[in-house]
């Protein structure tokens, strides 16, 4: 029994050690956030994760896109969630769940970009070439620019988060920047991205050309028409890469992806599906038809002299229900269209129409888009007529893409066209919960 004197402490010591180890259990399907971007491979995987955030349901998957078109005049609500109606009737409340999910999806994307921007340049890995390092960093800058651009045009000036979040208290006490400061951040990121990216054509990832396309749109929003024209021209001049495909439906119908129409589209697969079709397709096609083309839009798009072959955007069930058919695939692999060459034509048309003496050139760009839709040339003659013709063309051309609302707001036409005379309503409310959680975040006026 004397042996116990020695055995017991030893056993106790062994048990204590194994006990500590026993209480340290590591997951097998995740890694600690201390070891995330450490070499070439992990830098690449993090960048892919960034695009997956950009294409998430809350962002370019469904919700953010829907905010852009539901707030216009092409879509009616036909489902069960009446928060959709709030966009259509321009009476969005701060507790609308869709604005909260879009807001959070966009900032999730920004955080992923921030991780790449902060970490990729410092990774030590002999296999990691400077070219690839630059490319990945440039892509993150581009995505962040796009994210702030979308925030700015939806909510106005927002809080700028420019560093990766490592703890829960990292992003406290940040005040909202002004609209000008937010757009300045967009430009700064685009400027940073451009030299880092290769001048190649990659329709699912950002390249120098993607930066140019977004810059064209950015300058149009800023009413910097000469710059908008110049950047649009860079793409329109690259006919080898970008073409208006004919007919209109050729850029989306028959399960095509990455057509020459696309400057930037987001890729989905049977693993990562796009929730968008579910909102548009009728029950007969296994969707919910949460919303559908409005009567007014149906009249326009089905008018051969206005919609032309763009009537392929809508279809009708055997029960007579009209539905939007831009997103229709199964499995739901419809790409999300972010930047199309048609937009560059209409950007340049608008930029030219706003500059003295370029009406004819403007009309030529507009007619390129009309011709692809199977329409005769526009008969607009005055500057005002041309601008209105472009506005109406954009309404049909981008009916189910996030443009209509933003277009009418940036051209000061949301009052005249949509009857939203209260300019305070030209930005959406900041999600009520965000205001509640973050003491530094001010709500937009009148919400």
């Amino acid at each position: 029994m004397n042996a116990f004197k020695y055995i017991v402490p030893v056993l106790a010591a062994v048990s204590l050690v194994s006990c500590k180890k026993f209480l340290e259990v590591e997951p097998v399907d995740s890694v600690s956030d201390g070891q995330t971007i450490v070499d070439k491979t992990s830098a690449e995987t993090a960048t892919r994760g960034l695009y997956r955030a950009l294409s998430a349901d809350g962002y370019y998957g469904v919700t953010f896109q829907s905010i852009g078109y539901l707030s216009g005049d092409n879509v009616q609500w036909t489902g069960s969630q009446s928060i959709i109606q709030q966009f259509i009737s321009h009476n969005v409340r701060a507790d609308n769940a869709n604005i909260a999910s879009a807001w959070s999806a966009i900032y999730t994307t920004i955080n992923r970009a921030n991780h790449i921007i902060a970490k990729v340049p410092n990774v030590t890995d002999p296999l990691f070439t400077q070219t690839l390092r630059n490319q990945l960093t440039g892509e993150a800058y581009f995505v962040r620019a796009l994210a702030y651009f979308d925030l700015a045009r939806t909510w106005g000036g927002v809080q700028l988060a420019l560093t990766p979040t490592n703890s829960a208290s990292d992003k406290t006490g940040i005040q909202r920047s002004s609209l000008a400061e937010t757009y300045a951040q967009v430009l700064s990121d685009l400027t940073a991205a451009e030299p880092l990216l290769p001048e190649t054509t990659n329709r699912v990832r950002a390249t120098k050309k993607t930066v140019w396309a977004l810059r064209a749109r950015y300058h149009l929003y800023q009413k910097e028409y000469a710059l908008a024209e110049a950047y649009a021209t860079k793409l329109l001049g690259d006919a080898a890469s970008y073409q208006l495909v004919k007919p209109y439906s050729a850029f989306f119908a028959n399960n095509v992806v990455n057509t020459q129409e696309s400057i930037f589209e987001l890729s989905y697969s049977s693993t990562y599906t796009n929730g968008h079709r579910n909102q548009w397709q009728p029950p007969a096609n296994n969707g919910t038809r949460q919303w559908a083309p409005s009567d007014a839009f149906l009249t326009l798009v089905n008018d051969a002299s206005i919609g032309g072959n763009r009537s392929a955007l809508v279809a009708k069930t055997s029960q007579g229900l009209w539905y939007g058919n831009l997103y229709y695939r199964s499995p739901a692999t419809d790409p999300a269209y972010v930047l199309r060459i048609a937009e560059q034509y209409l950007i340049r048309a608008e930029a030219r129409a706003n500059q003295p003496g370029k009406l004819t050139e403007a009309l030529a760009d507009l007619n390129a888009v009309r011709s692809r839709a199977g329409l005769a040339n526009s008969t607009a003659a005055t500057q005002n007529d041309v601008l209105l013709a472009i506005e109406n063309e954009r309404r049909i051309e981008f009916a189910f893409e996030p443009h209509r609302w933003f277009d009418l707001v940036r051209t000061d036409r949301a009052g005249t066209v949509l009857g939203v005379n209260d300019k305070n309503k030209w930005v959406l409310p900041v999600p009520a919960n965000e205001v509640l959680i973050d003491g530094s975040l001010e709500q937009n006026f009148s919400y």
Binding site: M1, V8, L11, A12, L16, C19, K20, F22, L23, E24, V25, P27, D29, S30, V31, S32, D33, T36, S42, T45, T47, R48, G49, Y51, R52, A53, S55, G79, S80, Q81, R93, D95, A97, T108, N111, R112, A161, T165, N166, S167, A168, K171, R203, V204, R205, V257, N258, S267, S269, N285, N286, D295, A296, S318, G320, S330, P331, G419, N433, E434
Partner: protein
Amino acid sequence: MTKAVSVWLLPALLMPYIVFSQENPAKNTPAPTVKTGTDNIILSGRVIDDKTKAPLPGATIHIKGTTHEVAADEKGAFKFVTGQRLPSVFVVTNVGYQPREITISQATDIVITLHETNSQLNDVVVVGYGTQQRKNLISSISKVNAAEVKELPVAGVDAQLQGKASGVQINSNTGVPGDGVFIRVRGATSINASNDPLYVVDGVFINNTSLQTVNTGGRATSPIADINPADIESIEVLKDANATAIYGARGANGVVIITTKRGNYNAAPKVNIKAATGWAKAAELWKLTTGPEHAELVNEFYANSYQDALTANDAAGITKYKYLPFRALTDNPTATPAPRGLPQDQNTYDRLNKLFRTARLSDYDISLQGGSKATKYYLGAGYTSQEANIKPIDFNRASFKLNLDQRVNEKIQVGVSNSFYRTYRNQARSGDGPAGGLLQSALHTPTYLPETNADGTPARWAGFDNLDVLINNYDVNTISLRYIGNIYADAEIIPDLKFRTSFSVDYNHYNESEYWNNQTQLGAAPTNGLATSIQTQNTTWINEQTLSYRKNLFGGHTFGILVGNSVQSNSLRTDSLSGSGFPNNSFRSIASAANRPSSQKFAKGNLVSFFSRVDYNYSGKYFLEASIRADGSSRFGANNKYGYFPSVGVAWRIREENFLQNVNWLSDLKLRASVGLTGNQNGINNFAALGLWNGGAGYPDVAGSSDQPGTAPQQLGNDDLKWEKTRQSNIGVDVGLFNGAVSVEVNLYSKYTTDALLQLPINAISGFNSYSSNAGEISNKGYEVSIISNNIRKKDFSWTTSFNISGNTNKIEKLPTAVNYYNRDWVRLQEGHPLYSFWLYKQQYVDPETGTAVFEDVTKDGSITVADRQILGSAIPKFFGGITNNLRYKDFDLGVSFTYQYGNKVFNLNRFFGEGGGTRDANRVLLASQLARWQKPGDITDVPRLTAYGNNYTLEQNSRFLEDGSFIKFSALTFGYSLPQRIVSKAHIQNVRLYFIGSNLLWIKKYTGPDPESNVTAVQNVQGLDLGTPPQPRTIQLGINVTL
């Protein structure tokens, strides 16, 4: 690891070594009986009731100072051979009778009379790691007689407890057998960790978190439904800290201890056979508008909206509402909306009665129990089948049970408990979500819409599936195979010092499969068939050692101590496969599918614990008990691995004091008080404390390529994450009156939870929505009263009434930011309000002049904005309980049980959708209650004028749909007849009982839906949302019980 733990650890580590060192000498030596050299003699006699003189079968006779023990047979007779010299002392015990110690000096014709105790004072109550007599109890523990509730036709024993235990609130949620129930012991203490009690079956901490992963519309299955109630001997619910602190980090929500049946030593084999069959049917369904009524309402909506569009000069509205949809087919046939025919020409299609059915119930159990001198056994097998009251949902369970105990020698006993269960569920969806939803299809489809298209194909409306297609093609089912087992060894090392070691396993293989053929919405073209197959394996193993010592010291001092340790590991692994694109409906194997995504999940959590309890009492008058448990968990942050949970309790049994000796009407009076700390870690993710990135964020590198692997931030870490702690104090009084004919137990308690585990929302600009933290504080204060009264107790007639009432006030004392739950944020957690609170716009009235709904403008700013939403009630009742009467007259028995609940709110989501005022037009049913809408000036109603404009029907979170969920339910009526002994004994049968049970026979309620207990979702923190689930059925059953 801190010093304090080491103090606990050392004795625990020593235990195995002590045991073996002590055990050896005893192994081959015969029992040291008090043999005196006399020859063996035969003792025989009978045990009878002192009043009725009826034999007491099953009474045990034990010779004091030995291990020799026999049980009386069905005639109360006993006989045994002993080497004892007369006179010797017998200890005679029988359940429900006062134990007696008598000195026997004759060998034959011994007649032992026992006195029946009405009170439960001598009841043995199972406590954590031991048992106690109720009269010595300091803790607050509800004991439920399993026999009283086991026949109720709900699948799980948890649901059977409704109204039976004070302080335990139970709601059934749905009429789907085997679905999870809402159970709260003394209120809800947590926001993101679990609020369910801990379940311990024969010493095994079993899993009670649903393993379900398939979507059934929000609900989740109950793992407790795996257990066959027929095998259960007793159920104890441990409520106060003195009882639960020994379970440390898992005790805060109360502990349900389930003890299964075991055999008796020296007992003849006894066979029990039960067979029952029954029927279940919904007591009430929803009242819907007819086709013509629906059409009238929608036309009215269009006409009013058109007027309002003109007033608002809204061009889009003027176009949209210009034509009534229900107009003659020839009237403007090309205008939108297209004409659907006049209202009076509409048909009405009754889908509800196609879906609801009279369901069949059946239940068969057989068991064998008994024992020899050194072995006792219980063998049980059972089969239960329950159809839901809607097609095609059904549940069945087959079970097998073997409990075995073996005396190795006088000091050592080993044993096993084994339970095998196979639970099958047809899990059709009935809840939220359009696709595949049975009640969505049957209840929410407008009644005027036909079931087939003009071409004869099944019609699918409003985003819902076709009901016939669903009923005939549903193929969603789950098979749960579960083993719960335990092996133990008990050893008496020295007199009064007992060692126990055990190893337990809870293993569950959960196999889910879904197949949606191309007739259903989910599987329709272009998906072309959708199948999933998910295998989940949940494994828990536990090793425990306890050492206990109990000694009656000099002069009435009794002292006991228990120390123990426990090591537990749980792992959960899920492998899922899915497939779409099947060649045709004949191919159902995922191997035939064109697309086959797969996925896998793994989680693991470990727990190391040390615990101790000491108790002391002085001559059964003054009681003191203290316990502590230290738990170390892998779940928590690096800075907080260990938690400590102490408790202390005292009791004063005043009845034993001299000054009450002559107060005869008072048979018991005891005051109890306890305070302690318990913890909670269940329900949070095993890796909640870690900052993590995950994979599964793939994306191509170039256009047209397939996805390449991607990574992304998953969650923020928190090294400080720790136990949620609940401090509970309890004071109670036990009163026995009239020789125990009436016993009353009253408890007052206060629970205060700090460091509540919370997914605390953080500002989205961080890139995250929430992170795991200890942020909230919650209080629960309440009372419990239970009364058991033996009103009449005669030989041929007895009548017992038991009644309980409990009330609990729940309040979130601290919460950094309010948190909303469920889509549309119906439910909100907010400081100063209870959990399960509804966050709504308050509709004050409908203006009789204009028909406009007037909402309370809390901010007085002239418009109704989010700031005007308020918390307008909670799903927590003010009080609840039950009352049961049991009567017996000769061979007849009758049981009548009611349960009740008062003051809880239910948000009637079915009504929310069904009273949409026509805004959803052809996309939703209209309930008959919509007909009460405002139509003309002077109408007094709370259903506003039908229009698309204003807030009448667009402000969704309308308090109009928040209803009073109070109810009194006639929960059970049992009527039984036992065949007279003189008949059955001729057939050598001990007992035959025929019985009838009716359940949920009557509801008294204000609630306008069929079942105020309904809840659509398993989402934590959401209760009382009624949408698309079938009500609990009214059932009747006939059965027979035979004992051989």
